[in-house]
Every structure is written in C-alpha cells, then in structure tokens.
C-alpha cells in the first residue's frame, strides 16, 4: 500500500524525465496541443461548403403542438431547410434505455426546451433568425411539476405508461426491527448541471454511399450510432461516428443531444452541417442530475451499532427516461451507505414529470443518497454523544461484509481507514480569535470584504461514500480494443484502435501507459476513437480505465503469445523454453530476440472484446442479487468558516482519502479527486438549476454558479492502493467517488458551525441564517 499526498507533490519540473508506464506520472499525449490552442474540440470543426444547423425549441414545459409553419423562415436568404418530425425517415423516437423521446416533437411537448424543428442556414446568425421565424402554434397545458404529486395514482400522466419509471424495492432482515435510538429526517437535493465547458457541437457530412459521417463530442459512440441509425432508417454501417475533441462531459454526453439532428440536416441538404449550442441552449440540450427528496429513519443500539435503516427516495426524472432506471438502481442498492445494516427497507422511485429530463451525472444516484444517509449518521452520532467518525467506523463495511442486497463485498473496503485518515490529517490554522485582524480574502465573502470576522464561526464535518464501478444489474458490459504491432523506422510501434471516449479524464494517457508496460516499447499511437471497431461501452460509471486497461492487457498478452510463437519457430525451440522480459524474448543459452527482429515477418494484430465479471439483475420485490462489479470509496473532511449574519460560507480546507486499488497514473488520479471534490463543493454551496412551474430560471453561467478558483480551498489528497483481486492491475474506478462525499462533508461542517439542521442542498444564505425554515430545518422534525 502506498500513500500519495497530492498537496505535497511538487509539480514535475519541465523537461524532467518521467516514466511513462503503469504507475508513472506520464504526461497527457494531447497536453501540448491543448495548451497551445491547437487541439480540435467538437466546436472547432470545419468543412468546405459547410452550413449551420440550429434548433427550434418549445418555450412551454407542456403543450399540445398544433402546427409548425416554416414558410417565413424559408423565405430568408441563406436558409436551406426547415425540418419537423415529419422529416424523420426512421424511428421517430430515441432514448438511452427506452426510445420515449421524439427526435422532433410530435403531438405534445413535455418540457421547456424540447426540440420542435431544425433549420440549416449559411451562417449562425442566419440560422438564429430562421429559428425565430419558424411559426409554431402551441396549446399550453398545465405541466406536471411536483414529483410528490406526480407519484399519486390520480396524477395526470406525462406518458401513457404512467409517471412511475421505476420503483426499486429493497427488503433485507426483519421489517419490524426496533431500536432504542431512532433518528429520522427529510432531505432534498436540488437539480445540478454537469456544466462542462465545451458546448454540445459536432459536424455531420453526407457520404456518397447514402450514409453519413458524424464527428461529435460524446461519451459512447456506439450507443449514439444505434439511435442515429434508427432515426435515419439506415443500417448501422452507413452511420459512422468519430470522436471530436470533448470539452468535459460528467454524464451529460451519455444521451443523444444533437447527433440525430445533425445527420438529418446533412442528409437533407447534402452538405456538411455544423451545430454548436450556446450556453443557454446547452442547459436545455442535455440531461441533468436528478433532484431528489429523501426520507430516512435510522435505528441504532445504545452502543451505536445500526439496527435498521428505512428509506424512501423520490427522484424527479423529468420528461423523458434517459438513464433514470439505472440511477434509481444505484440509489436503492447503495442507499444505506458503506455500512453494515442488518435490517433494511428501501423504496426508491424515479418519476416522469414535465421538468427538464434528468439522467447521468458523476455519482449517478449515489450522490443524492449519500447526502441524506451521512446527515443521518451525524444526527445519530449527536443523539448518542459519539464522535461522527467513531460512529461511522463502528458501522463501516469491510471486506467480507454483506451489502443489503445480499452481495458479499469481496475486495478491500477500507471505509474505517479512509475516515481515520481524514480525521487525523493536520487541521488548518484556527480562525483569528480577534475580529478585524488581517484576513483579507480569507473570510466568507472573500474579496468583497463583507466581514472583519464578527459573526464568523468555524465548523468541521466528515462524510464517507461509495459507488458501484461499471454497469450493474446484469448489463452485458464490454469493451473492444484492437492493438497492432509493427516495425517502424525508429523501432516497434503499437497502434491502438478503440471507440473509448477521452473526455478530459486522461484515458488516452492510460492507454499509452498500459501498452508501453505490457509490450515493453515506447512508441504507442492512438488512432482517433471511432466506430470502425466494436463498442467500448460508455466512458461513464467510473468504468473506462478499468475496462480499457483490461482489454488492452488481454490484447497485449495475445500479441506477446504471437511473438513467442514466432520466436519459437525462429530459434527452433519449444515455446515453454522461452520467456518474455521488457520487450524482448529470452531463449535458452541467452538467446535474445528483440521486438523489431520478431516483427520482420510482418505486423501482428489482436482484437479483444473484454468483459468484467458478470452481475445479476436484482429481485424486483426484495432488491436481492449480486448487482455490482466493484465499489469505489472515498472519505472527506471539510473545514468551513460561516458568516452567520450573511449566510456566507468559506471552505477553508478539504481533505480526501480514497482507495483506488492501483493508481495507473497517480497525477491523473489526484486530478480526478480534486475535480470531483470541487463538483461536490458546487452542489453543497451554489449549484442548482432553478425551476419554476417547469421553466428553467437560470440557464447561464451568470445565474448558474460553478466554483471558481476563489471558491475552492487547498485540497489534500491521500490515495490508498489496495488491490482489488478481480480487477485489471487491481485498479478501482476513480472518477465518481470524490464527488459523492464532499457535499455531505461540507454541509456537516456548516451544521457544526451554525447548529442548524440544513436538510437541503445547495445551501442558500437564507437557510444558513434561518430565514427559510424548510431549508434550514428539513421539514417536519423527527
């Protein structure tokens, strides 16, 4: 086991020699292009004769679509076409799991911003004018916006199938179990946006064979292709996708946004078509994190041991399904946290409403539950007079523990150790005892200088969380790679072909590191990710390093076997007498054959479709089953200063401890932990898409706030590497764990500072100063 401490790691000096195999801080292969402004993102694409696409969107959260009149738009010089649902040649609906969303609205629009029509024009400005000139007649309907009411059998239905997308039930142990110490609470999580910086964008080019070539920023090329081909009525081999540079994703690019629209326009106009969403349109163009209401009852013995947990969770999935079913599965199976609980009852609901559609965002169902169960653990600790870390450690799951689903946790689960590490980490210097000493920029309110220290109090909070890695509940989750090995002028070259999507997380670096280590060479070429090879699955669920590393390792092993066979033939000795070491084949009597010699006979190539171990669907009545592949764990400690008069929070320091199994690239791991922790900070303190009667009130970076460099504190990171024996190299998915527990840790710290219950995130100043009793107190007490 090793511990890496991010804060104290010196940045590598320029030109310093760094290793570039597994476990090294290899540099990003695209880093130089990115700092120079030469990396082509999906919004930077261009083609000769290209025209611009734009989208007509519904201003109403729910309305009957009466008519679409394109005539005025078509009279504008430079406008090529206006398309409606009648122009969709194939399947008129699409969706990640279920095709319930119209490619272009038909009959009824179900959320504000739903795509109704498309235009193509010779410039973005002409396209904007054409969008404004398309006359759409609506008959507004009363939207279904309250998820608690949408659940009721009497509610008006958003879709004919009813409003309940999934009801996940978990029952384990004794449903009537009682305990001497009981705490209950109601919690609410607001709608968070992924707020990636690179807007949705892409370029579709019609092809001579009647098909289309699409370059787009996405998380999963093949699932896009399936939906695009269906809508176009084309066989999949006529729809070719390639990954364009992705400006962040965080779940928001797992669903189709403009992919189908671009291809429809390209095939209609016969020209390359480019689309780029504005920031405002981006807020309407992708799914968000499910807002949730959660009610928990925890029962424990006087010694602090958990006896039972009962939970009811309602997740608002908005107008279309997206990945709501899987989100609910996570919230339900992970809903009591990384603790041993003998008696559990969970009911988790995912709903249709006329609010914005919600789907994948980093943490995917685990975030909402963790906010609630960690608040409950703090209340229980308070009730018992125990330290919050003590109570958590007492109940912490460990290797060999049983999940409430009945699944055995069969790899390291260092929950107590992670908590102990953040607990014992050095604390920041205390608040100055005397108000008014020099603290410029360091107090809540920052540079605005809103306090000299009066009314400012400090608090410390802890939280731990966990999440499944990979696709669960019986999904056939696989990744394809093709690796070829050939002699080059400067030595052997390995070429990797894969459809796995680099989003910024550093997959491309990991790919080069694995191949270098496995084949003992330095020259690794990564081809653009595209659909010429089989699916890589999604770059989501913290799964892509795990899956692609597993697939690459297998492909390299097969290549080595091929090389050994060649060596055996050449040396005339049996294969068992040969061994592989550092890019060479060692034979008897110190005979050595290098890669280059062995490749003289021609290149070698291996294509591998690699699967993680299978999972099971869960029982629909009890939630029992081996649903998950692997878990990732992180713990946070947050120290905050709160201005109790203005309701402002300054996060002073965050410590994170996370087990990653094996850090393939330690620097990138720490970067993921910093970034994930910061997104959790955003949810704790500022990030919320505000909805009023189904309408988004803040679709801009002026009104939807994400953390700036002034909002984030120094972040210390401790990384544990406890190998998972079932995973390639023992690694664990890294990306999501840090987003899960940072939110509850920060809120716990604010509670500790203010003494308020604070049952809703993001925290608002009115909650912190106690003006909004519901937000401050979390609804009916006990």
């Amino acid at each position: 086991m090793s511990t890496l401490t991010g804060q104290t790691r010196e940045p590598a000096a320029p030109g310093a020699r760094t290793g570039n195999g597994i476990g090294d801080d290899a540099r990003r292969p695209d880093g130089t292009q990115k700092v120079a402004g030469r990396f082509a993102f999906s919004s930077d694409l261009w083609a000769d004769g290209m025209v611009w696409g734009a989208t007509v969107r519904s201003p109403h959260p729910r309305a009957r679509l009466i008519s679409v009149d394109p005539s005025e738009a078509l009279r504008i010089a430079g406008v090529y076409c206006v398309l409606t649902h009648e122009d969709v040649p194939g399947q008129k609906t699409f969706g990640l799991e279920v095709a319930d969303q119209p490619v272009l609205a038909m009959g009824e629009v179900r959320y504000q911003g739903e795509a109704v029509a498309l235009v193509a024009a010779d410039s973005p400005e002409t396209a904007r004018r054409a969008v404004a000139a398309v006359r759409v007649e609506y008959q507004p309907l009363v939207p279904v916006v309250d998820p608690m009411k949408a659940m009721l059998p009497t509610a008006e239905k958003v879709h004919p199938s009813g409003n309940i997308v999934r009801h996940f039930k978990l029952r384990s142990g004794d449903p009537l179990a009682e305990a001497p110490v009981v705490v209950s609470g109601e919690y609410e999580v607001g709608m968070q946006d992924q707020a990636f910086l690179g807007p949705e964008s892409g370029l579709a080019v019609p092809a001579d064979d009647g098909g289309v070539d699409l370059q787009v920023a996405t998380q999963w090329l093949h699932v896009d292709r399936r939906q695009v081909a269906a809508a176009l009525g084309l066989p999949e081999d006529k729809v070719r996708l390639a990954l364009a540079g992705v400006g962040g994703a965080f779940g928001a690019r797992e669903d189709v946004s403009l992919q189908i629209h671009l291809c429809l326009l390209a095939l209609r106009t016969g020209r390359p078509v480019k689309m780029v969403y504005s920031r405002e349109e981006s807020f309407f163009g992708h799914v968000h994190r499910h807002p949730a209401r959660l009610r928990y009852v925890h029962g424990a013995g006087r010694d602090g041991r958990l006896v039972f947990v009962k939970a009811e969770m309602v997740f608002d999935g908005g107008a279309y399904m997206s990945s709501t079913r899987a989100v609910i599965g996570n919230a339900g199976t992970l809903g009591v946290g990384p603790y041993v609980v003998p008696n559990v009852s969970v009911d988790a609901y995912g709903l249709y409403t006329n609010n914005p559609p919600c789907g994948a965002m980093r943490g995917f169902g685990a975030v909402q539950a963790c906010f609630a169960y960690e608040a409950q653990m703090d209340r229980l600790a308070e009730e018992l007079g125990m330290h919050p870390v003590e109570l958590r450690s007492l109940n912490a799951m460990a290797q060999g523990s049983l999940m409430p689903t009945g699944q055995v946790v069969d790899s390291p689960a260092p929950v107590a150790d992670l908590l102990r590490r953040v607990w014992q980490a050095p604390l920041p210097p205390p608040l100055p005892a005397v108000a008014g000493v020099a603290t410029e920029g360091l107090l809540p309110g920052g540079m605005a200088n809103t306090t000299h220290g009066e009314g400012v109090v400090r608090g410390t909070g802890y939280a731990v969380g966990f999440k499944n890695v990979g696709f669960s509940e019986g999904y056939d989750d696989y990744t394809t790679v093709r690796v070829s090995l050939a002699a080059g002028p400067d030595g052997p070259v390995a070429t990797v072909q894969s459809a796995a999507c680099e989003l910024g997380q550093g997959l491309v670096t990991v790919e080069t590191q694995v191949v270098r280590s496995e084949l003992g060479l330095s020259d690794v070429v990564l081809e653009t990710a595209d659909t010429r090879v089989g699916s890589a699955g999604s770059s989501s669920a913290s799964r892509q390093t795990y899956m692609t590393a597993g697939a690459l390792r297998e492909a390299c092993a097969r290549l080595r076997a091929g090389l050994l066979a060649r060596a055996a033939a050449r040396l005339g000795v049996p294969e068992p007498d040969l061994s592989w070491a550092h890019g060479e084949v060692l034979g008897p009597e110190r005979a050595v054959l290098g890669l280059s010699e062995l490749l003289e006979a021609g290149p070698l190539e291996e294509t591998v479709e690699w699967r993680h171990r299978p999972t099971q669907d869960v029982d629909p009545e009890t939630g029992q089953g081996d649903a998950h592949v692997q878990y990732c764990f992180a713990a946070h400690r947050a120290v905050v200063d709160v201005d109790t008069e203005l309701g402002l929070v300054k996060v002073v320091q965050i410590d994170t401890a996370q087990d990653v199994g094996k850090a393939i690239n330690p620097g990138a791991v720490i970067g993921q932990i910093h970034g994930g922790t910061t997104q959790g900070l955003g949810l704790a303190l500022m990030e919320e898409i505000q909805i009023d009667a189904g309408r988004v009130r803040n679709p801009s970076f002026t009104d939807y706030l994400i953390p700036t460099i002034l909002d984030v504190p120094p972040m210390r990171v401790q990384v544990l590497e406890l190998a998972d024996p079932h995973a390639p190299y023992g690694l664990r998915g890294v990306g999501e764990a840090p987003t899960i527990s940072s939110t509850p840790a920060i809120v716990a710290a604010v509670r500790a500072a203010t003494g308020r219950r604070l049952a809703r995130v993001p925290l608002r100043p009115q909650d912190i100063v106690g003006l909004d009793e519901a937000g401050a107190e979390g609804g009916p007490s006990r």
Partner: protein, 154 residues
C-alpha cells in the same frame, strides 16, 4: 463592414463583418484561430481570453468593430518559434490540463498576471484567475502550474 486587425503579429483584413459579431467570432470563424474558446459567450468563463493591445479581455465581449486597427494576442501567439511558453509548459507539466477547454483562457490570463506580477502570492493568483472557470481540475494543479511558471521567471 470591413475590419483590419493584427493578430499574433499577422495583419488580417476581413470583409462583410456583421455589426453584431464579436471579436471571438471573427477569430474563430473568419480567421480560423480556434484556440480562443466559446464556452459561455457572455464574459463569465474566461475561455475566450485574449490580449487586446496588451490588455486582458474576454473576446466574446468585444465587438469585432472595436478591434479594428488593434493588436490581438491569442493563445496561438504565445511561445516562440513553435516552442511552448513557460506558462504553457508549466500547465502541461503540472497536470493542470484535463479536458483542456478552459486551458487557452487560463494560459492567456496567467501570462497577463505574470507580466504584471512576476511573483504572485496564492491569493493574488486566485484573484487574477477568478474569471476563468474550469470544470475538471478543481484548480489545485492550475495553482501548481502558475507557481511553477512564476518560479521559472515565466
């Protein structure tokens, strides 16, 4: 209208510019300089940061006409003879780049900071870069990069 401007030492002339166009649009769509990024186009994220006559601006908030006859430096104009500037090198070395969409803006803003203040404190770095949103890194390695660049005398 016709606009003449100098970008990264190269004179450009562009015709038929619409009055509503931003400098960012001219750089990207007319001059093919894609390095300046279009993340919010309302001056909140800093991804389109350039130097206009040596002053740090969001090019999305500058009307194309305002740039007429002026000198613009974009991320593509940093460094010498195809070599990275010390700031660019420090961002790569420190791991301050993930998706990289904010990176050109952060690099330009850091160049501007270090020109005015070669040895900034952490608080001064944070204040100077507060107009540049990054969604991936949590800024910790951005701070590392800026400290390293300052330590090298840029």
């Amino acid at each position: 209208m016709q606009i003449r401007l100098n970008v990264n030492g190269v004179p450009y002339e562009t015709d038929d510019v619409w009055e509503g166009e931003s400098l960012l649009y001219v750089l990207r769509e007319r001059l093919g300089l894609w390095g300046s990024k279009n993340a919010c186009e309302q001056g909140e994220c800093g991804s389109c940061s350039v130097l206009l006559d040596g002053e740090l601006v969001c090019s999305c908030l500058v009307a194309a006409g305002q740039a007429h006859g002026r000198q613009v430096v974009t991320v593509e104009g940093l460094g010498d003879d195809g070599r990275m500037s010390a700031v660019q090198e420090a961002f790569v070395a420190a791991g301050a780049v993930q998706c990289g969409f904010c990176t050109p803006g952060l690099v330009v803003a850091t160049e501007d900071l270090l020109r005015h203040n070669p040895a900034p404190s952490d608080l001064e770095i944070r204040e100077a870069l507060a107009g540049n949103l990054c969604r991936c890194t949590g800024y910790e390695k951005v701070l590392d990069a800026v400290r390293a660049a300052a330590g090298m005398g840029r």
